[in-house]
């Protein structure tokens, strides 16, 4: 097969396609979006499977689980915090198990390039007690995705693949193999999938019984690699995922590199770890994300006679993304000679709203409407409009998780904060804004919700949205918001004064009101034109 140029995300996606994928679901989020982007393009061309942008990650997870229940191979992908949204079905699917092969792709963002935290999905693998993969390069991403479906069917469990930004968004060439045919339909058995206590207890027992076999699977995996240096028994390295590359980069010129174990599968390959630890005195653990392996290795009391180094003790920073330079230093190697930095003070260039972005006009109007109002609280949400936090707007006071703007504004209003304003995008509203607005409508909470309807999921590159246009207005009304307090504005400079007045009026209304700012994202407009 020829070599194909793929992003890490795309390599996983193509591996899944070649494993006989029947259905894939996702909600966009950096750095995972390109998994489903790729699948949507492929499905459009080949019609061989279904690929859907779901309304949120929980929905996506359940849709994929349903496809697995029906015996087909399915995939769900999201960014790490998306797995929080899907955590309920995720944890329970370890109990129901999977029928058709089921791959869960969770892309972590160490260093928080585009995220609110840098949580490590390997803890979820351990939490659910299912098998997990962590590729270090594109070829592995492809090969592991293919294999994961077989492993999922072998254990009757979902399998999680952990990616990190650096691999998700790196391109390289991948050798592909012939595709396998999709599965036939074959329903899951009710006694396994109905999680009444009587069934759930039995199924949980089965999950626990499988643990030893899962550890053996990990120990035997061709993706783990143990290499012992017989001449030097002082020092060895355990490196997982992308950190393995930085290790190999740093020792590339060595005639005999230190002993190392590359870890690519979970649960941890215990026997291999024992062999490495038995061979050397000091172990340096290199992993991008949390000190997941290091913490387990050390336990509470450490290993007698051994020194374990990593993020908890020693040379690696506890937060942020690993780099080849950090790993080089941790290995005690001199930095490479380089040109000095220019010395000129370099003005930072943070991201900002595009020129002509509708959100800019919405924030200008909101700021004007709140001018002179003391104690105003603008709760915001996740999307391009989060950039309203930066100058020149300085317009918002919170961004926590999808949908939190509405629920937090309600909580603040309940305890007396006024005015309580929520700013949320249309896609985020559909994702997690409906339920809090439903309860706020029931209570007629004294707050003003501004929905920025730019007709797309803009920040992640323009995926479809469920909560836009006339349908959005009907939704808001259907949730119980009084019709006379559902107002629309068109965020354009020429309407500024009118928009300010409408927002002012609705803030003055001591009950729930919703202002919908309707204007398409200029990037999407541009795409349609070209």
């Amino acid at each position: 097969m020829p070599r194909q140029i793929l992003l890490g995300d795309e390599a996983v996606a193509l591996g899944a396609v070649h494993a006989g994928l029947s259905a894939a679901y996702s909600y966009p989020g950096t750095p995972a979006s390109e998994v489903l982007e790729y699948l949507v393009r492929q499905a459009g061309e080949t019609k061989a499977f279904t690929a859907v942008w779901s309304v949120n990650e929980k929905t996506a997870y359940e849709e994929a689980l349903g496809a697995s229940f029906a015996g087909k191979r399915s995939l769900v992908s999201f960014k790490h915090v998306g797995l929080n949204v899907a955590a309920d079905p995720f944890m329970n699917s370890a109990i129901t198990g999977a029928n058709g092969g089921f791959l869960v792709v969770s892309a972590d963002d160490p260093g928080m390039h585009s995220s609110q935290n840098e949580q490590d999905s390997r803890y979820y693998v351990q939490f659910a007690q299912i098998p997990g993969y962590e590729p270090s390069d594109h070829q592995e991403a492809y090969d592991m995705a293919r294999e994961a479906f077989d492993v999922s069917e072998r254990f009757g469990l979902p399998v999680l693949m952990r990616l990190v930004t650096r691999l998700s968004h790196s391109r390289s060439a991948v050798e592909t193999r012939d595709a396998r045919a999709p599965n036939e339909l074959k329903k899951g058995a009710g006694q396994d999938w109905i999680l009444l206590p009587v069934n759930a207890r039995r199924r949980f027992g089965r999950l626990l019984d499988l643990q030893a076999e899962m550890t053996r699977f990990s120990e035997e995996s061709r993706f783990n690699l143990l290499q012992l240096n017989d001449k030097d028994r002082s020092f060895g390295v355990i490196a997982s995922g992308i950190a393995y590359n930085y290790f190999r980069e740093a020792v590339a010129a060595d005639s005999a590199p230190p002993s190392f174990l590359k870890v690519s599968t979970y649960p941890l390959p215990e026997r291999l770890i024992r062999e490495l630890v038995g061979h050397v005195g000091t172990i340096l653990v290199l992993e991008d994300g949390y000190p997941f392996i290091e913490r387990q290795l050390k336990g509470l009391f450490g290993i007698a006679g051994k020194t374990v180094l990593g993020k908890m003790s020693g040379p690696l920073p506890a937060s942020g993304e690993l780099t080849p330079d950090i790993v080089r230093r941790a290995l005690g190697r001199e930095p490479l000679a380089s040109l000095p930095a220019s010395g000129l003070p370099l003005a930072g260039r943070p991201p900002q709203l595009c020129a002509g972005c509708p959100h800019a006009d919405s924030f200008k109007a909101l700021n004007k409407a709140l001018e002179g109002v003391t104690g105003s609280n603008v709760f915001s949400d996740i999307g391009c409009y989060t950039l309203g936090a930066l100058p020149p707007y300085n317009a918002i006071h919170s961004c926590v998780c999808m949908g939190a703007s509405i629920s937090m504004a309600r909580g603040a209003s309940d305890v007396g904060l006024y005015p309580a304003v929520s700013v949320i995008g249309d896609s985020t509203f559909a994702h997690s804004g409906l339920t809090p607005l439903l309860s706020a409508a029931k209570a007629n909470t004294d707050m003003t919700v501004i929905i920025l309807d730019n007709a797309t999921t803009a920040m992640t590159g323009g995926q479809p949205t469920y909560g836009s246009g006339p349908g959005l207005l009907r939704l808001v009304e259907g949730l119980g918001v009084a019709k006379e307090h559902i107002r629309t504005i068109e965020p354009l400079p020429k309407h500024h004064d009118k928009n300010v007045q409408i927002i002012k009026d609705e803030i003055a209304h001591r009950g729930l009101s919703v202002v919908v700012a309707v204007r398409e994202c200029v990037q999407e407009q541009r795409k349609k034109r070209s």
Partner: protein, 192 residues
């Protein structure tokens, strides 16, 4: 044979298109490559960079270590400066002289260019005017690729072939403009 390049610019300036051309040319030339890029928030007008690694042997890291880069190739002068310490001591800077001013505290351009010239090897091209001459100001990224082309370990025919494949679908005028942008960039670099 290996070459490590830091591609730099501002979100929206087309550095991913430069990377696309280099990736495909590398594939055509039978080289290994890894190319780490930036998606998401920073693409909204922020500083973006891509680590581009080419080699005829195994490439381990997706990122280039500091001091490991053979070239900084930037569509914007201030952004070129940001990555000087990634260059090896005799590395080369290939950059546009056209500032992209979307921040209030953009330094004086002359000072920026002066600092770039302090690098032992630098090529500075007026990408804005060259792109205009080629037919579209949007082709500044391809002007820079042309300027860098003589220093790359890739075959020129592979680069030009990829540019053709990339722009063919967008109509003859766009394709011609980009091919001309490449040629003008190349000429300007050799004359500088």
């Amino acid at each position: 044979m290996k070459q490590d390049i830091i591609l730099a610019g501002v979100g929206g300036q087309g550095i991913l298109s430069i990377a696309y051309v280099i990736d495909h040319a590398a594939l055509a030339d039978g080289l290994f490559f890894k190319q780490a890029e930036v998606h998401g928030m920073a693409q909204r007008g922020g500083a973006v960079q891509s680590h581009m690694r080419l080699s005829d042997g195994t490439i381990w890291s997706d990122l280039i270590p500091k001091g490991g880069a053979d070239m900084v190739l930037s569509v914007e002068p201030l952004e070129a400066l940001r990555y000087l310490d990634y260059l090896r001591p005799d590395g080369i800077v290939v950059t546009s002289s056209t500032p992209f001013r979307n921040i209030p505290d953009y330094p004086e351009v002359d000072k920026v260019l002066e600092a770039i010239r302090k690098a032992p090897r630098s090529v500075i091209v007026d990408s804005e005017n060259l792109a205009k001459e080629a037919g579209t100001v949007k082709a500044q990224n391809i002007v820079l690729l042309g300027a860098a082309s003589s220093f790359l370990i890739l075959k020129e025919a592979s680069l030009v072939g990829t540019i053709e494949a990339l722009f063919r679908g967008r109509g003859t005028p766009v394709l011609e403009a980009n091919l001309k942008a490449f040629a003008l960039g190349q000429k300007a670099a050799l004359g500088s």
